[in-house]
């Protein structure tokens, strides 16, 4: 027993000390990567803001005493921040948002650290999820991390390819606290975000609900072409080409409408969710903000990669999708005829 | 801000006072209590009986819906007739818990016209209290029960009245000796009109005047007493024998000493039982014994009191009669129709009641008091019908006093088409036909000095626990609407709130 404890205690340390590529290969199921926490730690954080702010401030009025003291304090802080102990490894709660990992950074350790493996109480499970479930611990289902990783990579691929083909990707996360991650992912993937309630009928009754929302015509390089503004009137509202849903349980309506409109969906499927509601499930914990932020970030990064690829091709004058022609734009959106043709017919 | 609870209710010593007044119930066993105990043991609640076992809920006992019906509570016997009214009208003149104020002057022959005492609190002389009670000078709600002994503020108006009484009596040189002064006392609510009358009565008693009072004018016109027409009068006049009898009893009780010293000097053929040479007190007592002759007796008494010399047939030596004080409270009740009905079921005008008519006629020019005296009629604001004619009459009186001629357009006249009572207007017309006869005296709030002494009086009686300074006096003065004494008393009875101290006294 003592031996076992010793092994348990020392073995962990030993492993931590000697982390060779071979060992890491053993831990992660992907190509050799640096230790899981490193990319997060080593990546240069976005430049601290105060510095910039000080420069930006335009002294409008002669500085008040309070203002002067604040300025002094800010300068001090800036000067002395770098001095003293330097914290190499420090947890930054916003790092997942500011610098989300790429799909290639997915490791089981990262997933584990982000609590993606924690399912729900066994009594609440959906048996359809049995294939993702690793086991039970303390009455809670544990999701198999290697499945999660594989499905997440697949979803990332889907997002990347859709982005590369100029599809509209909608990131939807309507739970409290998911706003930032959803907006960030949409920003990375140049997609669209939804962090408040999905208005039922936005797809099935789009003209009523999204009819007033503006659209624009862009060229292959995503530059707006204002000449076609007049042609956008009376056009049916747009529909997303891919929907990423962080909480499918609450967004049944959204997923249903997507199903009706043949829009593929990606969803985080917890052990109590119905995996058949989405096209590409990602078995994972959807109650942990860290887990959802991680998944949204990874998918956002994937979208970013896809968009970059598309832009690179566009620069060469190639597109991976069939661009809308100017002529088609000029056609009447309802009859599908040229603007003047109907009158001509009548005259004939 | 202001505390929302009505402190007035909490503070009012009503409950304590009434309990102390009631005699200890005979059923409660008298238990000897320690001498230092402030509350006697017999007032303690009787020991509680053990609760009935049936009605008491036991722990874990099921309670059925069919509970035993409560026995009908047997009604407590109602209090005997007149007791509640007596309680209501009870006047408590002393509060043994209040502190006694040392060095307080009494109202006396010397002090009543002493100008240096103006603005002080003066006690009423103890030996006159019975007489004052007899003429019903005290009213139940005047908070006499707050203080150790009854006392009043010696206001400017009091001092002036004291001087006037002195002059009429002839103690002080002046042209007023033996004169008759008639005044109507008005003023806002709580301004001390009734207490003014009380002070006048006290002074009159001190000066050994004859005091005749009507403490509540309402009782004579509200249909409370019996009335009967006097035959042969046109228009028919009505006499109220019981009310007259009560009046006579008041006069006899209050002026026993004076009346007993005076002998009749006139012939009274109407009064059969009257022996020659009897005193005026005996004369008045005739009316007490038989209410039917009360009114003739009163008339006889009145002529006796106003006589200046003996009638030819009387051999007794004529004794000079003292001046008279006639007071009335609640004048407005007498300025309209009464609730009495004539034989044809028309309402009787209050001026057709001889009692009322007699006293109102004193206001007019012709009727005077033979030996001089003071006629003080006060209006009331606590119980008064709104009376347009009286208002106009008082306005006219005020205008006359300011020197406005009746012919001038500014002279107040009843509005056209208003139902001003012509008889009332005639009365005022008659009373004002000569200048300077009927006066209007308007009482208002106390001055600040008087307020200060009143507040100090409260503080020294132990009712106000605060330092009396200009601040406090000014505050109370403003809160009481400019020193209206009744309001001042209400304000002072409230417990004081701690006031925030102003850090920055001046800007």
């Amino acid at each position: 027993m003592i031996v076992r404890q010793l092994a348990a205690r020392q073995g962990r340390q030993f492993l931590a000390l000697r982390r060779t590529p071979v060992a890491s290969r053993f831990f992660s199921s992907e190509i050799p990567t640096p230790p899981p926490m490193e990319p997060v730690v080593d990546t240069p954080l976005p430049e601290a803001e105060p510095e910039k702010i000080i420069e930006e401030i335009v002294p409008v009025a002669p500085a008040e005493p309070g203002q002067a003291s604040w300025k002094k304090e800010a300068t001090h802080r800036h000067r002395f921040n770098r001095m003293g102990t330097s914290m190499k490894v420090a947890y930054n709660p916003d790092s997942l948002l500011q610098n989300p990992p790429k799909p290639s950074d997915i490791t089981l350790e990262l997933l584990l650290a982000s609590q993606t493996h924690l399912g729900h109480s066994t009594s609440r499970w959906n048996p359809q999820n049995s294939r993702y479930i690793f086991g039970i611990r303390e009455g809670v289902h544990i999701i198999s991390l290697d499945v999660t990783a594989a499905y997440l990579r697949r979803a990332a691929k889907v997002v990347e390819e859709v982005a590369a083909r100029g599809g509209l990707i909608l990131f939807a996360g309507t739970r409290k606290g998911q706003k930032q991650s959803v907006v960030r992912a949409a920003e990375l993937a140049r997609g669209y975000h939804l962090f408040e309630r999905w208005i039922p009928g936005s797809l099935t009754n789009g003209q009523q609900i999204l009819g007033h929302c503006e659209t624009k015509v862009v060229n292959a390089l995503d530059e707006e072409l204002p000449d076609f503004k007049a042609d956008l009137a009376d056009r049916p509202p747009l529909k997303p080409d891919l929907v990423v849903c962080l909480n499918p349980l609450e967004n049944v309506v959204l997923l249903h409408e997507c199903g009706l409109n043949n829009v593929p969906t990606i969803g985080i499927i917890d052990t109590d969710a119905d995996p058949t509601r989405v096209t590409y499930p990602i078995p994972s914990n959807d109650d942990s903000l860290r887990a959802t932020t991680l998944i949204a970030g990874i998918l956002g990064r994937a979208g970013e990669a896809g968009q970059e690829r598309r832009m690179a091709m566009a620069k060469e004058g190639k597109t991976t999708y069939e661009p809308i022609t100017a002529q088609a734009l000029r056609l009447d959106p309802f009859t599908g005829t040229a603007p003047g043709s109907e009158q001509a017919k009548k005259q004939n | 801000m202001v505390p929302s609870a009505c402190w007035n209710c909490v503070l009012r010593p009503r409950a304590a006072a009434t309990r102390a007044l009631l005699p200890p119930s005979s059923s409660a066993p008298r238990v000897a209590s320690a001498p230092f105990h402030s509350s006697a043991a017999q007032y303690a609640q009787p020991a509680k009986k053990k609760a009935n076992t049936q009605t008491m809920m036991k722990h874990r006992q099921s309670m059925s819906i069919r509970r035993k019906k409560k026995k009908p509570v047997d009604r407590v016997r109602p209090p005997p007739v007149g007791e509640r009214k007596a309680l209501k009208k009870r006047i408590v003149l002393s509060n043994p818990n209040a502190l006694e104020i040392e060095g307080m002057a009494d109202l006396s022959a010397e002090t009543m016209s002493n100008p240096s005492l103006r603005g002080t609190i003066m006690g009423l002389p103890v030996d006159k209290l019975d007489q004052l009670r007899a003429v019903e000078a005290f009213k139940p709600k005047q908070s006499w029960s707050l203080f150790r002994r009854p006392s009043t503020v010696f206001r400017r108006s009091t001092y002036e009245m004291g001087r006037l009484i002195d002059q009429i009596t002839g103690d002080v040189e002046g042209a007023q000796q033996g004169k008759v002064v008639k005044k109507i006392v008005t003023g806002p609510k709580g301004s001390g009109k009734t207490v003014h009358l009380l002070q006048a009565m006290t002074m009159a008693f001190i000066k050994k005047w004859v005091v005749i009072t009507v403490p509540d004018a309402r009782e004579l016109v509200s249909g409370d007493t019996a009335y009967s027409p006097i035959e042969g009068t046109n228009p028919t006049q009505y006499v109220q024998p019981n009310a007259t009898s009560t009046l006579l009893s008041r006069v006899v009780k209050a002026n026993q000493d004076v009346l007993a010293g005076l002998r009749i000097s006139q012939q009274h053929p109407a009064l059969k039982g009257l022996k020659p040479g009897s005193t005026l007190a005996d004369l008045a007592k005739l009316g007490l014994q038989d209410a039917a002759v009360a009114w003739p007796v009163f008339q006889a008494l009145w002529t006796e009191l106003n006589a200046t010399k003996a009638a030819p047939g009387v051999k007794d030596e004529f004794q000079p009669r003292p001046p008279m004080l006639v007071t009335l409270d609640g004048l407005a009740h007498w300025m309209g129709e009464s609730v009495y009905r004539a034989a044809d079921y028309t309402t009787i005008h209050s001026h057709d009641l001889v009692f009322v008519n007699h006293f109102l006629s004193l206001l007019t020019q012709g009727q005077t008091l033979g030996n001089g005296g003071l006629v003080l009629y006060a209006t009331s604001t606590s119980n008064s019908p709104s009376n347009y004619s009286l208002e106009v009459g008082l306005d006219q009186l005020a205008a006359r006093q300011e020197g406005v001629k009746p012919s001038s357009p500014e002279y107040p006249q009843p509005e056209s088409y208003s139902d001003a009572d012509p008889r009332v207007m005639d009365l005022f017309q008659a009373s004002m036909s000569k200048d300077g006869l009927l006066e209007l005296q308007t009482l208002s709030g106390l001055t600040r000095d008087e307020t200060r002494s009143y507040v100090t009086y409260f503080a020294r009686s132990g009712l106000l626990r605060e330092v009396v300074n200009d601040q406090l006096v000014g505050e109370k003065w403003s809160l009481s609407g400019g020193g209206v004494i009744g309001e001042l008393e209400k304000v002072l009875r409230r417990p004081q709130l701690s006031r925030p101290q102003v850090a920055t006294a001046t800007a």
Binding site: W70, V162, R165, Y321 | M1
Partner: protein, 309 residues
């Protein structure tokens, strides 16, 4: 299950193989498996399938930068139904986090800004914005407005200005009330349905309400005290005379309207008393009014008794 898993993996593998194939082929069309069959109306890209052209193609300039490729939403919040509003909110939130370190001042000292009223804001964004959401937006605006004036970045200033309603109602400052030539200070106050106007002059504490004495108007001592509380709590009762006009409402309302009016008039005479009066609670306006009765209710909120059958 095992079979399914293998199928799944096969699908995944298929997907994984995709990028290599697409990167090599330079076709300008979507791969066949991604492209839905003809019968479907939707395609991956938003471009619409060209129906047989009615007229020969207009020859735009050949450069791809001028030829249209896609129709896309103008805002990333397109699918939320109120994109412009959400864009504004996100922009403001971004500013707030960016400049959260700047020195701020008390909300009471911040310059008073006339933000859009709700109806105006709805016109401004052209979307039906709920009240609650607009309130949260105004909250962010207020926070940004609290940055000390000397430190406000130009970006923030311009953003804030875009939310101001046209014509600044707070631009013209009201002249501070003063004591007039005869030494009177005027104050007005309201409470419940009553409104009072008080003229305060230096004096000995004489008070007239509607030309009558205070005692006549307020029978209760409590009302009298609350009417004069402003003077009483500052111990100024014997230093001022007041001429009061009050109308409307009941006795309590009138008394407390007088309190407020007196306090305001007193402030004109002695502005240094403000903290004392504030503490005494006499210059706080009580804006509560009687709630109206509603149809179907017995009173404002009371419902008729519910009876079964």
């Amino acid at each position: 299950m095992a079979g399914h898993r293998s199928n799944c993996i096969a699908q995944a593998m298929q997907l994984l193989r995709l990028p290599s194939s697409t990167s090599r082929v330079t076709v300008s069309r979507a791969p066949s498996h991604l492209r839905p069959p003809r019968t479907q109306t939707r395609t991956y890209a938003t471009s619409e399938e060209a129906v047989s052209p009615a007229a020969p193609e207009i020859d735009f300039s050949t450069s791809s930068s001028r030829s249209p490729a896609r129709i896309v939403p103008a805002s990333p919040a397109y699918f939320s139904g109120s994109p412009r509003f959400i864009d504004h909110v996100l922009k403001l939130e971004k500013l707030q986090t960016k400049y959260s370190g700047l020195p701020t001042m008390e909300a009471s000292e911040a310059p008073r800004m006339a933000w859009f009223k709700l109806a105006q804001f709805r016109d401004f964004v052209g979307e039906p914005v709920p009240t609650k959401k607009y309130k949260s937006l105004v909250k962010i605006l207020q926070r940004l407005n609290r940055i000390q004036p000397a430190a406000v970045p130009a970006e923030v200033r311009s953003t804030l200005e875009s939310f101001l309603r046209p014509g600044n109602p707070y631009a013209q400052q009201l002249a501070p009330p003063t004591v007039d030539e005869s030494g009177r200070a005027r104050g007005r106050g309201k409470r419940k349905e009553s409104s009072a106007v008080v003229h305060l002059v230096e004096g000995e504490g004489e008070i007239l309400v509607n030309g009558r004495s205070l005692v006549d108007v307020f029978k209760r001592v409590h009302d009298r005290e609350s009417a004069l509380w402003a003077l009483r709590c500052t111990q100024r009762l014997d230093k001022y005379n007041a001429w009061i006009n009050v109308r409307g409402g009941g006795v309590t309302g009138q008394a407390e309207a007088i309190t407020l009016a007196t306090a305001r008039a007193l402030l004109v005479h002695e502005p240094a008393l403000k903290p004392v009066l504030r503490k005494a609670g006499v210059i706080s306006v009580d804006a509560r009014r009687v709630e109206r009765k509603k149809p179907g209710h017995v009173k404002a909120r009371k419902m008729p008794t519910w009876v079964k059958r």
